[in-house]
Amino acid sequence: MDFLIFKAPMLMVQASLDGILLGILFALIAYGMALQWGVMNIINIAQGDLVILGGYIAYTMYLVGIHPAWGVIVSPIIMYFVGVLLYKLVINKVVDRDLFISILATFGIAIVFQQLMNFIFGADVVVAQSEYGTTMLFDNSVTLPNSKIFSAFISVLYAVALVIYMKKSRLGRAIRATAQNARAAKILGVDTEKVYAATFGINAALCGIAGALISITLTLHPYVGLPYTVRSFMIVIVAGLGNLPAVALSGMGLGLFEEFADYILGTEFRIGAVFMLLVFILVYRRFKLSKKREYLK
């Protein structure tokens, strides 16, 4: 235990800002997961690996001399097609099966993706440079990398755009209808097959954006996808499906929780604390549910 953070108010500010900025990025990935989980009832273990692949697209652009920030436009476009292709090849075969099959299938996809990225991009850890500089607050005692601010801004921008798209567009309405009741939607003339493909494509595109942002804020490596999957899973569990504001809040909450756990418990318990929180939330939810049931009796 280390209570340094409570002695220095500036550390508190720093931790909170770091946590929130990071949380917004997590929320974007989690939103994609919530979307396709809600629509297709699939838990995508390869979510994190799609993120990393998106990151490598931005990194490749950086290597050929294009600023990696353009990745937030190019990467989702490419990743959308990767997602649709993935759907046509694998996901459409597991979409109506039980959850366990989809977990196995996407787990397999995750392994294939990791090995492919390792094969193409090598096993070295890589970073893309945005050269965005740093914002300094409170007489240089709190520093915020502009790349993190940029990534939070872009995440919010895309999330808002997506919400509007889901509400207003034909495809968005079809997706929401399918999520509510796939069979009814089909009867009413919605091509659910197309909706599924598009949903998975949109999810992959969101991962692509997040990946591009990660390439300029954190580091890329073919095998670091899993922590992103776990975090987004956790956020979705807390927020529930199909509730974007809750996803955003839960994402920021998780970011904050992680930062504070890091300061107080020590860095080694950062990920461990996330898992502990997950257990608590699941137990708490069960507890609440059981109470309700008793009441109904």
Partner: protein, 413 residues
């Protein structure tokens, strides 16, 4: 009838078994070739360093074979290596070691890449009494288990950054310093940490931050914020290439001012290439540098090795390649001194090794670690946008002066 069939099957299997064991007992030396075995990470997360290791081995095999090979009992032999890909997976590595020994009949092993995989293989080679010369497992725990057939040409992990603490104390006028440290939770980095703890005790230094980084680390902002608030004299970071890259990225972004920054894996991370000027003044531990003045008759000097390696493989050799090449020089020397292919004779010859290679002096301590070669420290220095690693310690090989303290970010262009 049934009995006959059974008898037939039994005898066939017996003959096959006998044949297999017969061929394997002679497979250690086939014709003019001494066969060595190695499980190595050609795929998976260690694949880039695995390939550096393999290139180092291959370069030495080719060179030794070209220059006359190994002379045992008046006959010239050549080296040959059987490789298997361990997929960067310790379990797989141990299986492959068994396979090399039992099926391929290999009697002499070369190490895999990384401490973790060497740890997985060492119990196997020990069980079958197979001498293994390894070049990429530095964890101290490898040398405290009493292994008799394990020999490492590199300096153990706890020595990696001790020199840096000594240097900091020296710059502080001999007084103890305040140390902030962050180490990944893996065998290697934790051993580096133990070395720092020893050095701190020895010099009367104080450790004010002692963070352990998770394996999936890609964010150490919290540690760095603490560093910023507590202003230590030295910041020590070890977390393989990921740790080095993350540290430099976030130190530069958060404008963390420390007088001295010491790390591991800078060259493997291509720090000066990936981060350029942001990595300037970082102090890095290394097993080898091409500018050191060691010599041998196969590769000449470090500079010559660097040149030949570049010509052969198209990139400058990281120390992982150099030490792997040195492992074969050690084997050659041991075979010739043992003048026999008896495993125990070779093992005894390895124990008595005392030689100089282009990579450094080699002499094995009681645990099998190399005790004759000190670690070196280099510092990243930049001229314009070109950054280079300059050796700054120990003073005997220093090509440049150690720049201390690191200028503040506000003063850096």
């Amino acid at each position: 009838m049934n009995k006959l069939v059974k008898l037939f099957i039994t005898s066939i299997s017996a003959i096959t078994l006998a044949l297999v064991s017969f061929t394997s007992s002679f497979a250690k030396v086939e014709g003019d070739y001494i066969v060595l075995g190695s499980a190595i990470s050609l795929t998976g997360k260690y694949s880039s360093n695995g390939v550096h290791t393999q290139n180092g081995y291959n370069m030495a095999v080719e060179r030794i074979n070209k220059m006359g090979g190994v002379e045992v009992q008046g006959k010239k032999y050549k080296f040959e290596i059987i490789y298997y890909d361990d997929e960067s997976n310790p379990k797989r590595a141990a299986q492959l070691a068994e396979r090399l020994i039992k099926q391929d009949g290999v009697h002499y092993m070369l190490g895999p890449y990384s401490s973790g995989l060497t740890k997985a293989i060492a119990p196997v080679t020990e069980k079958y009494k197979i001498p293994m010369v390894e070049a990429n497992g530095a964890s101290r725990s490898l040398f405290t288990k009493g292994y008799k057939y394990l020999f490492a040409v590199l300096s153990p992990a706890n020595q990696y950054l001790e020199v840096a603490i000594d240097l900091a104390v020296e710059k502080n006028g001999g007084k103890g310093v305040r140390i902030a440290q962050a180490f990944e939770q893996d065998a290697f980095s934790q051993d580096v940490r133990l070395g720092i703890l020893d050095a701190a005790k020895r010099t009367g230094s104080e450790i004010i931050i002692d963070d352990k980084l998770p394996k999936e680390l890609n964010d150490m902002a919290a540690t760095l914020a603490k560093v910023k608030a507590t202003k230590p004299d030295v910041l020590v970071v070890s977390g393989h290439t990921k740790g080095a890259l993350t540290a430099i990225r976030q130190i530069s972004e958060m404008k963390v001012d420390v007088p001295m920054l010491a790390m591991t894996h800078c060259d493997a991370a291509k720090l000066s290439k990936q981060h350029g000027k942001k990595s300037e003044y970082a102090l890095c531990a290394s097993q080898w540098h091409k500018n050191l003045s060691y010599k041998d008759k196969f590769f000449g000097s470090g500079k010559k090795y660097d040149k030949d390696f570049k010509k052969e493989f198209g990139y400058a050799p990281p120390y992982q390649s150099a030490e792997s090449s040195a492992a074969l020089l050690v084997f050659k020397d041991a075979f010739e001194r043992a003048n026999s292919f008896d495993r125990d004779a070779v093992r005894d010859a390895l124990v008595d090794t005392e030689m100089q290679t282009f990579y450094g002096n080699i002499k094995f301590g009681p645990g099998g670690q190399n005790v004759a070669k000190p670690m070196i420290l280099f510092q990243v220095r930049c001229k314009g946008d070109e950054c280079e690693n300059k050796v700054v310690a120990p003073t005997k090989w220093a090509s440049d002066k150690f720049y201390h303290p690191i200028p503040k970010w506000s003063e850096r262009s």
